[in-house]
């Protein structure tokens, strides 16, 4: 696979804050690559370096075989960028925004309409509406259209779904999948773990570092323990009881169930069930489950924090 993005040893510091340290990764052409991490993990800084808006302190980054520092002028025509903050003109209409961005890139809406048709057609009924008056989901669609209007070769989307409701998030990811089918290389960041499974590969970011890079199934294979899903009517009481157990390695709520790992190498779920029953829980269920992306992220975070405290 040919590489569309290549990053080697990139670091960036803002005063006392080391925003990025020793970042290394490559993204293949046509890949949908996700960066998962909380606020402050370094996702935005990394994206700003890649889209030629910020200089790295060290290391180098190439897009489409071109160095991002030396060839920033050429690259700016060939990449699309949707920043985390809504940055279209609120006083221009939907259509005016799109026309403005296409003229900046020396093209027209009509020329590349094919690429944005899917997305923009949902906005066309509102094309005379001012961008500032759109709902969150529609703003996001307009911003994506504007980032695509010059048919970029690599697309950067910085937290496109933050603060957007679950339904609009789902729709947005369907659009990204369709762009991928058309061969678009996309780098997207998100704080939502459930979106990670929709990427070809993901990088977990925490405190300026990449904790792991792999396919979603490769990532979950990193989970080091047996994972149990435990359910009872009184979730709160169950949580306290499990946390008080001397064998508990981790206990986290996942919706209506608790995800539990034990500090013994192997535990029979029936044994766990029996122990909890002696503590007065009657309507219990204990099952061994496959870990998800969020389980793995938590486990990698704990591992790192554990080693940092030693």
């Amino acid at each position: 696979m040919k590489e569309a993005v290549l990053v080697a040893g990139v670091g960036k510091r803002f005063g006392a804050v080391q925003a990025l340290q020793e970042i290394n990764f490559a993204v293949g052409e046509g890949e949908l690559f996700g960066f998962i991490g909380a606020d402050g993990a370094g996702k935005t800084t990394l994206f700003r370096i890649l889209v030629t808006l910020l200089l790295p302190d060290k290391g180098r980054a190439e897009l489409l075989g071109l160095d991002v520092v030396r060839f920033y002028r050429d690259l700016r025509h060939r990449i699309g960028y949707m920043p985390g903050k809504f940055s279209l003109y609120p006083d221009l209409s939907v259509e005016e925004n799109l026309r403005f961005f296409s003229s900046v890139f020396g093209t027209t809406i009509e020329k590349n309409y094919e690429l944005i048709r899917d997305i923009y057609s949902q906005l066309e009924p509102f094309k005379k509406r001012r961008a500032g008056k759109l709902s969150g989901g529609m703003k996001q669609k307009l911003a994506l259209s504007c980032a695509l209007v010059h048919r970029p070769e690599v697309l950067f989307l910085d937290e496109p779904t933050t603060g957007v409701d679950a339904v609009s998030r789902q729709e947005f990811w369907l659009m990204l999948r369709r762009l991928r089918e058309q061969g678009m290389t996309t780098l997207v960041s998100t704080p939502y773990m459930d979106e990670a499974v929709l990427c070809d590969r993901i990088a977990f970011m925490q405190e300026g570092k990449i904790l792991a890079i792999d396919t979603p199934s490769g990532i979950t294979a990193l989970f080091p323990k047996q994972l149990f899903a435990i359910r009872a009517t009184q979730t709160g009481k169950l949580l306290s009881a499990l946390r008080a157990s001397p064998h508990a390695a981790s206990v986290y709520a996942f919706g209506s169930v608790l995800h539990y790992t034990d500090n013994r190498p192997f535990v029979n779920p029936d044994e766990l069930l029996a122990t909890l029953q002696t503590e007065g829980f009657t309507d219990l269920s204990v099952t061994v489950i496959q870990p998800g992306i969020e389980d793995t992220f938590i486990s990698l975070m704990e591992e790192k924090q554990g080693s940092a405290h030693e």
Partner: protein, 245 residues
């Protein structure tokens, strides 16, 4: 359950021809964790602005923390707490200054502020960083502090508006531990979130669609009613009926 901390009857807000909140009727009891969900533009923010006394309703009735929405807006503001991810504390103030500032706004006396600050700083184990600027603290600590500050004046109810956006999964769950604990002490929690797993942590949920209540029930009952395995499925079914992709 104990007394009703929020009670609304056909609460409505119009902006011109647009009905942002359409006959909202709900009750929230003392100590309850009440989740308020909806797609962007469904009317959540407008409803919260009314319930916190920031926006006058067009029609309908409501009491919050024992005060009438029309005549007691100032009483409401003094008896509720509010926190959101977007606006909570000041990064350029120290921990101690933030506490003093917000306690002052909520009208606590200097003596009470002093005592409460000391107690809070000790309880949250922030003694060593009490005079450090907030910007230098990890997000998880800031969040704990923001929540504690929002309830420092011992309100009956706290409104949490997307309190966990952009937070890592461990911090997010620790935050919910704090919510449970506060609810156990009798504080009523009114919370909005876009994380559907968090919806499951609530005692009851209200899902708003186009300004109206589309569903109001316990999460388990809602899942059962819609034949769904998770709240995410329920939400997607309700929030965009007729749209299947």
């Amino acid at each position: 359950m104990s007394e009703l901390v929020i009670h609304t009857d056909k609460l409505t807000k119009r902006f011109g021809d647009f009905v942002a909140v359409d006959a909202l009727s709900l009750s929230v009891s003392g100590g309850e964790i009440f989740g308020f969900l909806g797609a962007n533009g469904a009317g959540k923010s407008t409803a919260i602005k009314m319930l916190t006394g920031l926006l006058a309703p067009t029609s309908g009735k409501a009491t919050v923390a024992g005060f009438d929405l029309y005549t007691g807006a100032e009483g409401i503001k003094r008896n509720i707490g509010y926190m959101s991810q977007r606006f909570s504390l000041y990064d350029d103030l120290t921990v101690r200054e933030n506490i003093r500032f917000f306690a002052g706004i909520y009208g606590l006396s200097n003596q009470a502020i002093k005592e409460k600050s000391r107690h809070l700083i000790e309880m949250l184990k922030l003694v060593s960083v009490a005079d450090a600027r907030l910007a230098s603290l990890p997000l998880g600590w800031k969040q704990k502090l923001a929540f504690s500050v929002a309830i420092l004046h011992e309100p009956k109810i706290v409104f949490l508006d997307e309190p966990t956006g952009g937070v890592d999964p461990v911090t997010r769950r620790r935050f919910w531990d704090m919510i449970y604990e506060a609810s156990g002490r009798g504080l009523t929690i009114f919370v909005t979130t876009h994380y559907m797993d968090e919806a499951e942590y609530c005692d009851r949920l209200c899902i708003m669609v186009d300004g109206r209540v589309a569903a109001l029930d316990r999460p388990e009952a809602m899942k059962q009613h819609y034949g769904a395995g998770s709240m995410n499925e329920v939400f997607i079914q309700l929030a965009r009926p007729g749209r299947t992709e």
